[in-house]
């Protein structure tokens, strides 16, 4: 497999470390520590132990009979990350990073969160391993993801509502970075996506790759062949990167990353960074970015808090430019419909983020024939979204 990123943290033209000098020594230290544990069998075994006994891996690869019948096209398999402890793929990464933080002797951990899934996963791993934990969350997201806020507090984390900028994920990340700048000596910053400065895009991808490795093995075992397509939603892009990475060398497997088109691609209010953005620097890395001609980040919108982000991980930018992954988008309405559809066809309530991937899968599978296979990453469960859905549907939850 091609070794990316390079030693400077670049995936082709994208990535790098665009951070204040105060943080550079910490990033260099983090990279050294990570490269050590990456090869350390004892660390990897410990990680495997927690992923198996605590998170509940492997997650099933489920043949979605109902959705397949509905589309009457390709066979659809769901990678059930929603069945992980805490209800999303995010825990794969937080267990890994907090084991690393423990090795590095840090006592305190901070995180940013959008939908709250990464915040909950960080708070969970912090409780498990005995870290002090602070989670930054945009004020707007605190409102629309109230359930997750309470879960984090139950788990012993302090939740800081961020009241700057658009009061969403990117502002939470700015505030987490400011905290890290001030407390870098004792604090580990647990980034939840494949974004941010090097080595985070690599670390998060590696810890999430368990998704794709398992899915690849499971589909081979069950059908004796590789899938024709794998599909995943892309905000920052961690669940997609985790799913795609182990399939990158399998040239016959096509990949589709699904961004949030919000109110529509022409509305100016969406999060389709790879579709509509152009390269720039945001929060530590050079990647596609939704920005105006003067390089100011523009306001974005998605119904899904986890996708409501104007940037994207640098490896996705690279995979777009080399045409290895096809990036497309699904708007709020399509996501809401897919959310309701999966509830009825298969008895599964998906996260609104994952519902974007489901919506694209329905379109895709309907065009294919029943000899073909699509794997879609069901990155999280939808319990956190039921209040928003009730609001949208005009009923009391």
């Amino acid at each position: 497999m091609v070794q990316i990123p390079d030693e400077h943290g670049y995936f082709g033209n994208y990535g790098g470390r665009f951070v204040p000098e105060t943080l550079m020594p910490a990033l260099i230290e983090l990279n050294q520590s990570y490269q050590m544990v990456k090869k350390d069998e004892k660390f990897q075994n410990e990680l495997k132990y927690y992923l198996s006994k605590y998170v509940g891996r492997k997650s099933p690869l489920y043949f979605a009979q109902g959705l397949t019948e509905y589309c009457s096209g390709a066979k659809i398999y769901l990678k059930r990350e929603d069945l992980n402890h805490t209800g999303a793929h995010k825990i794969n990464n937080t267990i890994g990073q907090l084991l690393l933080a423990k090795k590095m002797g840090k006592r305190r951990v901070i995180a940013e969160t959008g939908a709250g899934q990464h915040g909950v996963a960080t708070a969970t791993a912090a409780a498990l391993f005995g870290f002090e934990c602070t989670v930054y969350m945009g004020k707007e997201d605190v409102r629309r993801q109230a359930l997750n806020v309470f879960r984090m507090k139950l788990l012993g984390a302090e939740v800081v509502a961020v009241d700057s900028g658009s009061c969403t994920l990117k502002d939470a990340m700015n505030e987490a970075i400011r905290d890290w700048v001030a407390n870098v000596e004792n604090t580990y910053y647990c980034i939840g996506s494949v974004a941010g400065p090097h080595p985070y895009p690599e670390i998060v991808r590696d810890f999430q790759s368990v998704i794709g490795h398992e899915a690849r093995e499971q589909i081979l075992e069950e059908t004796g062949r590789l899938p024709d397509y794998v599909v995943a939603c892309v905000g920052g892009g961690s669940n997609a990167m985790g799913m795609f990475y182990p399939f990158l060398e399998d040239q016959q497997v096509k990949m589709v990353g699904v961004e949030a088109a919000g109110y529509g691609l022409d509305s100016g209010k969406h999060c389709a960074t790879l579709t509509k953005g152009k390269p720039g620097v945001l929060q530590g890395s050079y990647s596609y970015l939704l920005q105006d001609e003067h390089g100011q980040v523009v306001p974005v919108h998605s119904i899904s808090a986890g996708l409501d982000y104007p940037g994207v991980g640098p490896e996705h930018s690279y995979l777009k430019d080399i045409n290895r992954v096809d990036y497309t988008s699904v708007d709020d309405n399509e996501a809401v419909k897919a959310f309701q559809l999966l509830c009825k066809t298969d008895g599964i309530i998906p996260a609104l983020e994952s519902a974007h991937a489901i919506a694209e899968t329905v379109k895709l599978a309907s065009r294919l024939n029943d000899n073909q296979i699509v794997i879609v990453n069901l990155s999280g469960r939808g319990d956190k979204d039921v209040n928003s859905m009730a609001e949208i549907m005009g009923v009391e939850a």
């Binding site: 400077h8 790098g16 470390r17 665009f18 951070v19 204040p20 000098e21 105060t22 943080l23 550079m24 020594p25 910490a26 700057s164 900028g165 990117k170 700015n174 970075i177 400011r178 700048v181 001030a182 407390n183 870098v184 000596e185 720039g280 620097v281 945001l282 929060q283 530590g284 970015l289 920005q291 001609e293 003067h294 390089g295 100011q296 980040v297």
Partner: protein, 264 residues
């Protein structure tokens, strides 16, 4: 080619004086006021003036400068308009001007165009708080070619071996970040700043500026023992926030207070 920053700091050194460098966010409360503020600060004794280029994601800044940047962006401030303002300032004032900008606005302007236009309008130096030396090579070469001084930051977390690398890419002076943290007003100054400035002195003959968290004339005097220039941002920006209509008088007085404290 003579750079105004060199001329200024060399002269002050001969006179055994310390430089005072105020920072304001360009376009706060609007660019017309910025032009007047710069002129007034120069008259009040500012030796070099730092102009912040607003960016929507100011991750190295505390709440005071974040709000100023927000006000400036709401006024429609852009980098090209800031360069226009520099041109206006240069019609009457020769005070050295340093732009402090996050990387993305410069990147989107185009690095080569930016460096040329900045020098042509009369900008002397540039600080990019999210561009560590590892990422600065392209901008550094362009800046060296055109005579624009790229000023590097060093922090209390910077190791001695790293510091030696960083200062090699600095021109004009080296900016010592006095605290491990973002910009802002702080009650206490860092008593360990002498460790950092001492290491910089051993590594380079460039003058040393100290900033971040310096907010009173007393703190400035305290810092001045260890450096050649003191940089004050949030304490000045706060006055502009509190007195948008009378900013010029109040900021002039504050700058004069800092300057006289440094002279005493």
């Amino acid at each position: 080619m003579n750079n105004r920053i060199d001329n200024c700091l060399t002269q002050l050194k001969e006179d055994k004086e310390k430089a005072f460098i105020p920072y304001i966010a360009a376009g706060d409360p609007n660019l017309n006021t910025t032009v007047e503020l710069v002129k007034a600060m120069a008259d009040a004794g500012a030796d070099i003036i730092e102009l912040g280029v607003p960016y929507s994601e100011p991750m190295a800044d505390g709440p005071i400068i974040q709000k100023a940047v927000q006000r400036s962006l709401e006024q429609g401030t852009t980098l090209p308009k800031i360069l226009d303002s520099v041109k206006l300032i240069r019609q009457t004032k020769q005070v050295p001007l340093v732009l402090m900008s996050y990387y993305n606005p410069i990147l989107q302007y185009g690095l080569e165009d930016f460096v040329k236009d900045a020098v042509q309008t009369g900008v002397d130096g540039l600080i990019v708080p999210d561009l560590p030396v590892e990422e600065c090579h392209q901008l550094f070469s362009l800046a060296v070619e055109e005579g624009l001084y790229l000023i590097q930051l060093v922090a209390p977390t910077t190791s001695n071996s790293r510091l030696k690398q960083v200062v090699r890419y600095s021109r004009g002076f080296v900016y010592c970040v006095s605290v491990t943290g973002v910009t802002g007003v702080r009650e206490e100054s860092n008593s360990k700043i002498c460790d950092l400035t001492g290491e910089v002195k051993d590594a380079t003959s460039l003058p040393i500026g100290v900033g971040f968290g310096v907010s009173t004339p007393e703190q400035a005097t305290d810092m001045a023992q260890y450096c050649d220039a003191v940089i004050v941002g949030s304490a000045i920006v706060k006055e502009i926030e509190n007195n948008p209509d009378n900013a010029i008088n109040i900021v002039s007085k504050l700058v004069a207070d800092f300057k006289s404290a440094l002279a005493s």
